[in-house]
Symmetry: D2
Subunit: 360 residues, 4 copies
């Protein structure tokens, strides 16, 4: 019911339609473009239902294209004779944009409203490996102060020979861990047909970095009735992340947390490069909460503490951290997992940084 | 039947098992590692069924781990006390490796054996847009000398507001185009449930760059009985491409063409950076045929000709090129599509380069 | 004298001044920008000697800034109240642009006019290591058909503990090698004070990738009276390469060859990623000749042949290739150096590809 | 005198020589390598003064190469017949390594010991533009709580048509600003011949990102008697940054601050991607202080605050921030410069975060 209500409020807000006319695109003509070429471009623009505003310089003509907020495909215009280039005026995402929805979207995770003043800490092992492991991990992260439990039942692995997760059994164990600790569950779905299953057991459906542009999966998550944690692809731009969120939003699910988890660069000391800039950029562009994943962002447990604190200082609404009762025996991601006692210390450190930036 | 036979030949070959003992990994201990730490690492290695070979230096001890060709998870060892780092000895892919299958895999596409001396040219529009468009395109590329027709019925688009493809109707139109011209059809499947549908209509199942690590899709393609054209993710390493091929191979489908389609870099003049190095690297590492996509690799039609010729000169087994009867009206990828007459000229140019490198 | 004449011809051409008024920049105002904000931006633009053209939409106002071809600093305008963003209309480079100098610049290297129909092949060891080594290399590459001899006397090395080159003695040995074979010499200068020394001995002054934005060095090369081979930085954009060429051109030295030598990406199988797209992009944007360096572009000799042929097929005007009499004993870059006999075979292969694209 | 003493202490420390024998490299032979090939590799290794340790597997032989701490060129061995690959054991930098110098290097900047518990804040305009501007900026940042004043007299600019700095006059104005405020001066030298001039006026010599691998400049800075602030190249790895520091250290100047200023990636919303991971990585690998530059790291003033706080939370020893009395009139980098009042607020915010991580 809570979910319905939040959705309704968001949709009410989103139903506000921009019906004014807007510049959507600018076309720069070549310096030697002929009058015929200019007319031909103008006709094409008008034939698509847009209006134009011409600026004639001594050498160059610039065509402003005026329309509503429908996105326009600039590519087709770049091919017309006499066109030098085109430039966008409008942002390509709408529902995700803070322009349309200035106040922060809040997503309840037990007692915490993710996106509000309180920091959410989602913690747990990379994979569910056994009842003992996940129950032990759940108790440990709960005690340390975590907000929710993470753990994968379906694992996207580069190698077909690596451990692929426990499947539905893993989901059942996660549900048991929730029973035992009261912690809500965050776990990944890897294909559209897994969405209903994950939705049944989990509190938050995670979509992984490799699947950020798996559109069938995004559409399925858009139909789900549980919040989504959407991870940025390791070589996706911030704009593409927002466009993927837009897929889910356009289907009607407005409960999305965006997760920065490191991008791929030429640097080799760390597994990925945490894009810390993405935190303030996302907070400016969108109303959706922003979660940082320092475990994947660095790939080495030694650096998780420093980058966790950096994320909170930069304004992230939460963290998702890999914690394993015995990292040396983890079936995946051991190198970036914290031991429970180190995690407990980190939570204390994070609390101090959170207070220093007026969060809690 | 041909498909069964090719599969069988490949599998016969692949059933050759490496049962010898091999160095799989090297563990470098820290210079101050204690004897206890060394013993403890050795015990752990042996408990997993591996054997060790110790090299003691005055300061550093190096542990060679000996096993069969099972992949080993190095991460867990990096966390043990006293370990400085680990290094792989074996390649992580097996069935895709030329070490295990020295001769080239050949995939018939009409008269051409892809991977053999003849160059395959797959051409057509980005998307199927209408009967007229696809039939016209099919005739045009056939006349120009193409080997197969490409065209998307399911389109992965960054924006939920962009044209998403005609779906099954598009597949039917592609089948009509094959009827009309005799050209085999290459078209994309975006989710596991689309595989049977695409398999029914198409001659080659394309898996797109954004889905290179969509493991549910790879597994489904591994079960299909049609060849697969697997595109490298724009953010993926060559090794990851081979690991994704390994998913399909491990399921038993050995008919895979690998496609280099440009990677994402900091350069802005082009949409992607064609990784031309990947052509000789892949030809050395694997027995699977290599196709180059100069349309996505550059993102601009002006550069498609130069990069097509470069691809053939570098040793690619084929090209996949976007051709549209009227690029300015294309619903997607117009900017990188060639007009039929430019494509016809390009095929003539390619023929000359092919001959200069003893291909045809 | 030849050098003076070429310079004069180019300068005569370049003295043609664009004195017409041009759109140089577009300023997009925020949708809620006030009239005062718009007026204030207009005043600022006019106070700098530019004229404006206003396009008022219902919500957004767009300001076209009209001036001559002086480059304008867009940044300062992005900070003014009410400004959403600015977009460039003019390219930031002028003398390097093909717009201003449509015909190809030709640079004589012995019998070859680099930039003309004939392919230039510059070959030799990474470093000059001894008289015997360089003389032997010079004879070998000459016999194989090279146009010029390369070899470094000053070596930029990542480590202070690596061989740093023979210095002036190396330059003298290169001069000897020219005596012995007639091959012109291409060699690197690493600092402004080395320019006169290198100019004295060499026929072409090479500026290395790490120094592409060493502006003191670019200015010194602009004052030199020998042609310059300017390598693209390993993480520099094509536009930055052209801006660096613009430094040299603006000082009056118009004899520049641009060299694509691979850029840095996430891929690990090769040392760099050859940006083959850069070849047709540069040929379109500029009149300066384009040389490809497949040795650094790949970092492994096995791939040099394939990428050399690709470069020629893509339209490069020449190649610069590392060749060493005994690569296993090279003091630098052995892994990417060809043996003389492999190089001789490659020259024969290149000749065939060159003919297939109407070069020689 | 203080400088001499600090240098001596460091050198005393550094004179401790590692004379033990160490594994420096591992050579993995191909699985089909012959006994002759193995012997031949062993002979080559021994002829260079190294010892070997052979590990023979059933298929693969692994050769451990044992020597002192001299760096070894692995490349030449990769070319020998029968060699599959080589792997380094030792780090390529020595004097910069924390292994050799476990305690933090401290560099006094007025009252602050950079590298100690107190955070250094270096602030000021990108360029010195006039007496009024720099004196005003100096007073403003001093009042806000800055430790030192930055400002460029020599400016590396992508375009030859952009403002190139005031040269020596700028240095004199910086000296005046120091007189007026007592703030030490940090300013850039762009070529070896500028080092003595900059050394004369400045308290810290800055080496810019584009010059990180300008080895003539590094050598000159190594001979200088003032501390150096060395910026990471936008295209450089952390290891390369440390190798460049090693050039300066090897010349005897041990007073180096390392500066992370953002690297180049595919992301377009920000000018660079701040590599926040580099902060804990550098603190682990080296004893040199680490400074973060959030102005270049983001390129937009809106994000400077968030990333500054992140840097301190991650463990940086200081920040270098662009502040301009009127950013809209700045001759360079206006878009990323803070106004003095925003900077003053930021210093207060930073203080709180610093305390939360036990710094001041």
């Amino acid at each position: 019911m809570a979910y319905e209500k939040r959705q309704m409020q968001n949709e009410a807000h989103l139903s506000f339609n921009i019906c004014h006319l807007l510049f959507t695109m600018i076309i720069v003509m070549k310096s030697r473009a002929t009058t015929e070429q200019i007319s031909s471009v103008v006709s094409r623009v008008e034939s698509l239902g847009y209006r134009v505003h011409l600026s004639r310089g001594e050498e160059t003509t610039i065509i402003g294209v005026i329309g509503d907020d429908r996105p326009i495909d600039r590519e087709q215009f770049e091919l017309l004779d006499g066109v030098e280039k085109t430039m966008p005026v409008l942002k390509p995402f709408k529902i995700a944009s803070r322009d349309m929805h200035p106040q922060d979207t809040l997503i309840p995770l037990n007692a915490v409203q993710v996106g509000g003043p309180q920091i959410a800490i989602i913690a747990g092992p990379c994979s569910v490996e056994s009842r003992q492991q996940i129950i032990e991990a759940a108790h440990a992260v709960k005690e340390a102060g975590a907000t929710a439990l993470r753990g994968g039942a379906f694992k996207p692995r580069t190698s077909p020979y690596s451990f692929q997760g426990m499947g539905e059994e893993g989901l059942q164990l996660l549900a048991e861990a929730r029973e035992a600790t009261g912690l809500p569950i965050v776990t990944e779905a890897m294909s559209p047909d897994q969405i209903p299953l994950v939705e049944k057991y989990a509190d938050v459906i995670q979509l992984g970095a490799r699947n950020m542009q798996n559109y069938a999966l995004l559409n399925a998550a858009g139909d789900a009735r549980k919040p989504v944690l959407l991870k940025r692809g390791m070589m996706s731009t911030i704009e593409e992340l927002l466009m993927s969120a837009e897929y889910i939003l356009a289907k009607g699910n407005t409960q999305i947390m965006l997760c920065e988890r490191g991008i791929r660069t030429f640097e080799k000391y760390t597994r990925n490069t945490t894009d810390i800039n993405a935190v303030p950029v996302l907070k400016q562009l969108t109303h959706l909460p922003v979660i940082l994943d320092p475990s994947h962002g660095t790939g080495k447990w030694e650096y998780v503490g420093a980058v966790s604190k950096a994320g909170i200082a930069a304004g992230a609404d939460g963290l998702i951290i890999e914690v394993h009762p015995d990292p040396t025996k983890a079936l995946s991601d051991g190198a970036q997992s914290l031991k429970p006692e180190k995690f407990a210390q980190l939570v204390r450190d994070i609390r101090r940084v959170a207070e220093a930036v007026d969060r809690s």
